[in-house]
């Protein structure tokens, strides 16, 4: 269960306060999948980072009673001068998982081959996204925070991602920032629409998508 109550986030830029989120509340039960809808800059990534504990809200609380993944997106969470293998080793230690098992899964899923022994700064954006996504699946969380990443990679990777995420892990919770209406309608039960810092939860996904398209 995740319970976000009146979450507000301000950023300070050159002395000016920029309010990105203003009193946003929502909850997420175990196994439930919530879509995040909003235009670029509406605070989707910020909200995902707050739920993932990467940043702290300026005001409000986010309670968690299940294990929550790091925000899985196009960037972040790895060290560029370390190799894929060393990043994997570090994350395996932090989450107390056997390295061999994690490595086997990531090798199979991310299909990075010999790149795993190269520093990660030499990876393309798609390779980094595939790597971190595979790693988060290998760690096995109760709830996955997904920021657009399922649009990454080629068709084969996308198909396998869908299979791993939505079929094999159908019992997990998910917060999914996506612009793709079919994915949202296929897997999510509710949607949180963000606009100008405000957030509203809709159970009618068609309505939510219509509103999003009109924003």
């Amino acid at each position: 269960m995740i319970n976000a109550i009146d979450v507000t986030k301000d950023y300070r830029t050159e002395g000016r306060v920029n309010r990105v989120l203003s009193n946003v509340s929502f909850n997420l039960a175990k196994g439930e999948k919530l879509a995040l809808l909003g235009r670029n800059g509406s605070g989707k990534s910020t909200l995902i980072r707050l739920v993932g504990g990467v940043e702290l809200p300026t005001r409000g609380t986010i309670e968690q009673t299940m294990s929550v993944s790091w925000p899985i997106g196009l960037a972040g969470g790895f060290h560029g001068s370390l190799t894929g293998n060393d990043n994997m080793r570090f994350i395996a230690r932090v989450y107390n998982k056997p390295f061999d098992q994690i490595k086997a899964y990531v090798e199979d899923f991310a299909e990075l081959g010999k790149f795993l022994s190269e520093p990660m700064r030499t990876y393309s954006t798609g390779m980094k996204a595939r790597f971190m996504f595979a790693l988060s699946l290998a760690i096995d969380f109760d709830c996955y925070l997904i920021d657009e990443v399922i649009a990454a990679g080629d068709q084969r990777f996308q198909r396998r991602s869908h299979e791993e995420l939505f079929e094999k892990r159908a019992d997990r919770s998910m917060i999914l920032a996506s612009h793709i209406g079919e994915i949202i309608k296929a897997y999510c039960s509710r949607a949180l629409v963000l606009h100008r810092g405000r957030g509203k939860v809709f159970t009618d996904l068609d309505l939510a998508l219509d509103i999003y398209n009109d924003l």
């Binding site: 950023y11 980072r49 993932g52 504990g53 990467v54 940043e55 702290l56 300026t58 929550v68 790091w70 925000p71 960037a75 972040g76 969470g77 790895f78 060290h79 001068s81 370390l82 060393d86 080793r89 570090f90 994350i91 230690r93 932090v94 989450y95 107390n96």
Partner: protein, 260 residues
């Protein structure tokens, strides 16, 4: 297992993983990587001490120069290196904060422990080198020496907490740190004993916890052949306050971190 113990076990695992990662990122993965941790402070200490030995009067103020410089320079290195490593450490480690289990405090602890370990090894190795050539003797009052060094570590960690947390809030902490860590050489007690100062100045100098620690270290090295003014009760009190202040700042500093 109670949740407190579980928390502690997780924290130690995270700190351990961070230390290994830090070694990789700083020194590379080759076998020399680990050796560098030990060698780095030695590369500073040994040439500097030899040069001083060559140019200065070996018996200034009636005490021998080498033990005086050796017992002054190693704590100075700890202070400067720990502070230097901790500047902007949060910003430099933003990728780590993606993992909820990794806290700012864990990252701080990993860096500080690595720096302390590296310094203590350098202390032992440099002692062995200078002892072998007859330049320094075993400290006359070992418990006093250890106590003084302990306070020096504590002081360095407490200051690192404060500046590590503050430099996320304002950029001038970095500008101040450079001259401060340099001038520190002059006023810390690295170059003097409190006994050499006029009483009025001495009373002011002894308000500084690091001068207190230096007094205890020197008292340990030279025993009763010199007069020292170390006061463990005052030093503990001053450092405890500084540490609490540093922890409070550090706890709050997460709010100031902006990620990409």
């Amino acid at each position: 297992m109670s949740s407190f113990w579980r928390g502690l076990v997780i924290q130690w695992r995270v700190v351990g993983a961070l230390i290994i990662r830090e070694i990789y990122t700083r020194f590379g993965r080759e076998s020399l990587g680990f050796a560098w941790i030990v060698a780095e402070p030695l590369v500073f200490a040994i040439p500097v001490l030899f040069v001083w030995r060559a140019v200065r009067d070996p018996n200034e103020h009636g005490i021998s120069l080498m033990p005086f410089l050796w017992s002054g320079y190693l704590p100075l290195l700890l202070f400067r290196h720990l502070g230097g490593r901790i500047l902007l450490f949060i910003r430099a480690n933003v990728p780590l904060l993606y993992h909820q289990r990794v806290t700012i405090f864990d990252i701080f602890l990993a860096r500080a422990l690595l720096e302390i370990f590296s310094n203590l090894t350098a202390l032992v190795v440099s002692f062995a080198v200078f002892y072998t050539i007859g330049a320094v003797d075993v400290p006359r009052d070992l418990p006093m020496f250890y106590l003084g060094y302990f306070y020096m570590i504590w002081w360095s960690v407490a200051v690192a907490l404060v500046i590590g947390a503050l430099c996320e809030r304002t950029d001038w902490v970095q500008q101040v740190w450079m001259p401060y860590s340099y001038l520190y050489m002059m006023f810390s007690g690295f170059f003097y004993l409190a006994d050499w100062l006029p009483p009025s100045l001495r009373n002011v100098a002894l308000y500084q916890p690091y001068t207190q620690a230096y007094e205890m270290i020197r008292g340990g090295v030279f025993g009763t052949t010199i007069t020292t003014y170390g006061d463990p009760a005052y030093t503990t009190f001053a450092l405890a306050i500084l540490t609490l202040f540093g922890l409070w700042l550090m706890r709050d500093s997460r709010k100031y971190v902006v990620i990409e």
